[in-house]
Assembly symmetry: C2
Homo-oligomer: 218 residues x 2
């Protein structure tokens, strides 16, 4: 499944509705590409040396003074340490508010049992890495389009990411990155279909920006 090419970059396809993990060394670039567009990707970054230490949206909001990160922004952990910096971003608008969808989300709100979900995708992706019974951290929901109105109303809108759109970050620590191509097909998050994502890890920005997978119909 992994494709390590002559430039040393690793390119990994995350099948729509499923999750995968990948190692990213300190100083490496990690990109997440929305191959067809409109596909939410729940993203986690875990300190490879300490699983109790991971990227945290709420600590990042205080660090940035913003709930929406921008190019150049430093993302921080639950101990307020830098963990990733955003280098490039074709979309410029993602979500950090919504928790991973889980069995209860599908059961309580849609009456559907046994649906794939990002919570369990995270645990599956980490199952061979001794994650144990730790709770699933709050994700960074790439290519997800939420909006907070002045009165506090939170809207989940249709996604705005287009074919091939990508966000590129650099790792400030050695990490395990987990990406779940969100299986939510019952509301605007993925109402237009569940498709694949691609994770790209490289030593240079150029290598990490070079996609493996072409658009399915392209």
């Amino acid at each position: 499944m992994t494709d390590k090419e002559r430039d040393g970059a690793v390119r990994l396809t995350v099948a729509g509705g499923y999750g995968r993990s990948i190692d990213v060394a300190k100083g490496q670039y990690v990109g997440i590409r929305d191959i067809e567009g409109g596909q939410c990707g729940d993203f986690w970054a875990i300190d490879a040396d300490d699983f109790d230490h991971f990227f945290s949206p709420s600590h990042t909001w205080v660090h940035l003074g913003r709930i929406q990160p921008r190019v150049g922004d430093e993302l921080v952990t639950n101990r307020r340490a830098p963990i990733l910096t955003i280098i490039a971003d074709d979309v410029g608008w993602h979500d950090m508010l919504v928790p991973a969808c889980d069995q209860q989300r599908y059961e309580r709100y849609y009456g559907v049992t046994g649906h794939r979900n990002c919570h369990d995708n995270f645990l599956e992706a980490m199952s061979k890495r001794d994650w144990g019974n730790r709770p699933v951290p709050q994700p960074f929901n790439l290519f997800m389009n939420t909006y907070v109105e002045p009165d506090g109303t939170m809207l989940i809108r249709d996604p705005i990411s287009k074919t091939g759109d990508m966000i590129l970050m650099i790792a400030e620590k050695s990490l395990i990155v987990v990406v779940s191509a969100c299986p939510m097909d019952l509301n605007p998050v993925g109402g237009q279909g569940i498709t694949d994502l691609e994770i790209l890890v490289g030593d240079t920005k150029e290598a990490a920006l070079r996609p493996k997978k072409k658009r399915a119909d392209g």
Copy 2:
């Protein structure tokens, strides 16, 4: 410290800068009173029968479609189960975005070591209850005045709670409630002074609304 009075209600003073925990049975009312006004209270509600199950802001946002809860709103857990319902609220605007202040907050952002903080107040308050090494959950920051602008900017504004203002909730499960009278005195959260809060627990709304502690200068 606990004052159980003839009406059966329990009234507990939380000293400014410190934290305390209290048991709340299913169906009981729990109120948090800002005795002098302008004092942020980090609030947690833990399932008394399962410490891995607790009130979660992010799951509540999805449940309500709002990041600001209102009177009548049901707050939910990290398993999307109802845990508290808001019965009355003198302020009507609180924060659920900001994580508990911790040692790293004071050290990295203000260069202050050894400052009291809500993260450690939670652990102190739970130290006799076998919390173990679980992470500190995201709190509900009562009487804290944050605001999200349309571009995602998060502002921490001066508090708007007045002398004696209170929020009253009813427990949908048997809970341990933890409140930390936030010691943050280095930004607008508590820039006007750190003061006491009061926790009131009663079997009736009327009992839970009756304060013990008068305003310090009143």
